[in-house]
């Protein structure tokens, strides 16, 4: 299958990052099931020029009005990355569940993002996730809870993953399907009109990954200190730690939705 135009990748406004997208992106061959879960299927290849044009916005950062339709890349400034590592140096022995200074650190992150006009949602939660090196997949999932109803109610703001930051000291990969939930739904409906309509995001994800398993996922290399904000509309996202030597650390930033705020 060929990539279809979906949301695009861009550098967030007011973050000065010179991104060579061609060296950051890979295109996979589809997805497959492994031990009861979906994983991106190799081989990974460089995107063609047409694919690159469809996937990423080159040059200037996205305009404000385009933001919600983009996955926005950003980077923590050096002083915040230093603060993170200093905090780890001061932390207690491995296994302790409370990380002294974590609340102050995430407040600084939120303050930076607010200054850069990329504010995290009110009442956002920050969660550290560590993953073993060398994994093809952490977990394919929608940015919303699998049980969240599909189609979404326009009156509700469901809990969702807002974005994440690579706080490890090695690059890791974010694996994505470049379509928002509605596009996936439409593609399924067009190709498989007899399929029962999914009732939740989890069902939509399973349906898409099963029936359109050849749709090529994309893999974005995320350098240490870099983060991303997901576009609106619900997207399928995974992470991959292939090629890393040490555990990967992602700071997940989530919107608790209407109920949680």
């Amino acid at each position: 299958m060929n990539l279809t135009h979906g949301y695009r990748l861009a550098v967030a406004p007011f973050f000065h990052q010179s991104i060579d997208w061609s060296s950051r992106l890979l295109v996979g061959d589809g997805v497959e099931e492994e031990q009861g879960r979906f994983v991106a299927r190799p081989p990974w290849r460089a995107p063609t020029a047409d694919e690159l044009a469809a996937l990423a916005i080159d040059g200037a950062p996205a305009k404000r009005e385009d933001l919600d339709a983009c996955l926005c890349l950003f980077a923590l400034p050096e002083h915040l990355q230093t603060a993170w590592w200093d905090m780890l140096d001061r932390a207690g022995p491995a296994g302790t569940t409370h990380l002294e200074g974590f609340d102050a650190f995430v407040q600084e992150v939120a303050s930076l993002l607010a200054f850069k006009e990329l504010p995290v949602p009110n009442g956002a939660t920050f969660e550290l996730v560590a993953s073993q090196p060398g994994q093809r997949s952490i977990c394919w999932t929608f940015d919303r809870w699998p049980s969240a109803p599909w189609p979404p109610s326009p009156e509700q703001r469901p809990a969702r993953l807002w974005g994440a930051i690579n706080l490890g000291n090695e690059a890791l990969s974010v694996v994505l399907v470049n379509l928002v939930a509605q596009q996936m739904h439409d593609m399924l409906a067009q190709r498989f009109p007899a399929l029962p309509a999914p009732c939740t995001y989890g069902e939509l994800a399973a349906c898409f990954l099963t029936h359109l398993a050849d749709y090529p996922p994309i893999r974005l290399r995320l350098e240490p200190g870099e983060g991303y904000r997901l576009p609106a509309g619900g997207i399928l996202v995974d992470a991959c730690t292939l090629g890393t030597q040490e555990p990967a650390v992602l700071l997940l930033i989530s919107d608790r939705g209407e109920e949680g705020s």
């Binding site: 000065h16 400034p77 050096e78 002083h79 915040l80 200054f115 850069k116």
Partner: protein, 391 residues
Amino acid sequence: MTPSVAAAAGPLELLVLQPTPFCNINCSYCYLPDRQSTKKMSSATLRQSLDWVFASGLVREPFSLLWHAGEPLVMPVDFYEEAVALLGRANKSGVRVDHSFQTNATLIDARWCDFFLRNDVHVGVSVDGPAFLHDRCRRTRQGAGTLDRVLRGIRLLSEHQVPLFALTVLTAEALAYPDELFDFYRTNGINSVGFNVEEIEGPNISSSLLGAGMRERFRRFFRRFVDLACSADPPMVVREFQTSTSALLGPRYVAGSRTQENKPWAIVNIDCDGNFSTYSPELLGFSSPRHGSFALGNVFRDCLDDVIASERFRALEEEIARGVEMCRQECRYFAFCGGSAPANKFFENGTFASTETMSCRLQKKVCLDVVLGWLEEHPATPARESEPTHA
């Protein structure tokens, strides 16, 4: 020259010597109209300038000698070695003189570092931050960026343990990057910084900071930078934070009191031909239909008493004094500011008898507001005991 009328003027606080108008780079916001001219101050002019200053009656207390405009390091080190020797001879009463250079740092080498150290020179380096900000405006005449050369100069200063102060011109673009600027300074060992706004002066007839919403953007930038600087270990010294704190906690300006820039003869500016002016250094080299050249005389020809008695100076002083009084009457920040810089008033408003400028709005008012807010949130700062006034 017998100090008489001049004895009531000044005293001299800042002597700005402009040994050449030439600058080896070509910044897009530069106010110097003759920066391509390679004229240089001769030994004779240097000697006469120093003799004139010390004979003027203005030197009555310690002052700063700033070498500035164009790039002072275009002149050889030997010129400044001679200047130090001539200054020592002219300064018969042994008044303390602090030497300062404002440089783009591109020409610094080991010999310059040795000179700076031996003479306890305060070195101000003009640098606008990371390449995406600095190289946008601070370019060579061929259009190439200059940051690499600036950083080489900064590294040399650091290796020779010459303290430096970084002066950054803020454009509208830069206001989005306080964290990046903070990281840039820290990475390059800079712990003392000041911010100038991109001003409308001379040939720079516009500014990116004139756009809508700039006051709020500047406020957000400055507040964030102050927070970063104050929480650093050690804290970064920010000139605008210090001057605003001093203004808030120190003496008040009242009727009749003046700032260095609007007080006659507190600043003396002398160019490479020996032409001199007072008030804002940026005025030297410019003229107005009403006042003619702002160069009020020449060190070879004119004694200060005659200049002070001249109709041209009186008209200039009258207009500037009127502008200060307008500031006092109209601006609630006057007690902390003492009136806007005459050069900003002239270039932005067309007359010295005017009030608010962009520099007032951003560098004075916003900075004062931000620092006041910061001080209120950090009450451990020593409280003001009284409200003394400027003499």
